[in-house]
């Protein structure tokens, strides 16, 4: 999952905010940037729904962002 090439998103205390496009069982398709989608596991945020913004790290959603 890469948003900005110079930014390490894979290794550490770094995560990205991504909007849920679709939910398929325990996985969500999320949009991380215009036109870029990826899949994240929903084990830790099982009630995520399309439209939610999730904080994602290392292939899983860690938390749902509070609605703005």
């Amino acid at each position: 999952m890469t948003v900005e090439p110079e930014r390490c998103l894979t290794c550490s205390d770094e995560a990205v905010e991504a909007r849920v496009v679709a939910v398929e069982e325990l996985e969500a398709v999320v949009s991380v940037d215009a036109g870029t989608t990826t899949r994240v596991a929903l084990d830790l945020v099982p009630d995520a729904a399309p439209g939610d913004v999730l904080l994602c790290h290392a292939g899983i959603a860690l938390e749902r962002l509070a609605p703005a």
Partner: protein, 373 residues
Amino acid sequence: MKYVDEYRSAGIAHALSGEIAALVRLGETVRIMEICGGHTHTIYRHGLEDLLPAEVELVHGPGCPVCVIPMGRVDDAIAIAEQPGVTLATFGDMMRVPGGRGSLLEAKARGADVRMVYSPLDALALARNEPGRHVVFFAIGFETTAPATAVTLLRARTEAVANFAVFCNHVTIEPPLRAILETPGLLVDGFIGPGHVSTVIGTDAYRFIPDQYGRPIVVSAFEPVDLLQSVAMLLRQRREGRCEVENQYTRVVRREGNPRALAAIDETMELRESFEWRGLGSLKRSALRLRPAFAAWDAEALYELPGARIEDPKACRCGEVLTGQIKPWECGVFGTACTPERPLGTCMVSSEGACAAYYAYGRLRRPQEPVVA
């Protein structure tokens, strides 16, 4: 604030810069440590030091998980990767960290099957897709990353994936903070807390910092405006004589963290008696290993590991950089013998390492000062 543009707004940043300047007393020095490597990266990338008055000094902390892994553990990972039939999977940055016997990337060049993944779940997928290989995930990271490994282990157990294992090197944030707080002559006046670790562990986990050590901490998000706001919150606490845990990252972080993530970690992992940290030495109960119930997926139970303790190169001062005692450019090999292309020390490997961040964004702006070895 709703959109990322607002978190990077020059107008808001300059307004906060003025607010910060008004919160310090002329001539005083306030030293603020950002614990997290992600914050270090933002500070350099966006030139935030230029928006702070001379009275505020930012000190870089130990929160880059790649940077704190000792060379001996890299050698252990190489030893696993060199076993016949093994595929070692890990995050990209980890492949470049030099151990005593070179890096995983060099081991790959010698023929070992080392692959980069973005998630431990990708490593589990590799195991499913290639049943003839034994796939070992070299797991590193603080509490941000440990839940992903935990979820992967739980799935491996549910699906009975027998050709998958984890070489667990997850670490926890509290012991290194205590080690820094107990450093004689500590010159840190307050802390900017790691936003994403806190998503998992919650802000209550930091109460020992004001309660036992008398230092304030503000848990912060990662955009430039977030960080400036966190600096202002710390200075306001100081001005008002308060010393508390505050949360700037309210859009994600809760007091109690994410209980599901904590439960997944607790089900799969337990604290080690001690763990060797680069720059900080051996810290008690500072890292996680797999619980005995997960021995079938534990690379440390399945493979003979060298387990050697390797001294850092003498010229490398990563330890002092990690504990905020020196700035990257004060290390004698910074930018000369040690560069992102050929790193000597771990702080130059990860983009979150203080040395790599400073090399990428700051080195050309600072007049070259003579270095005293």
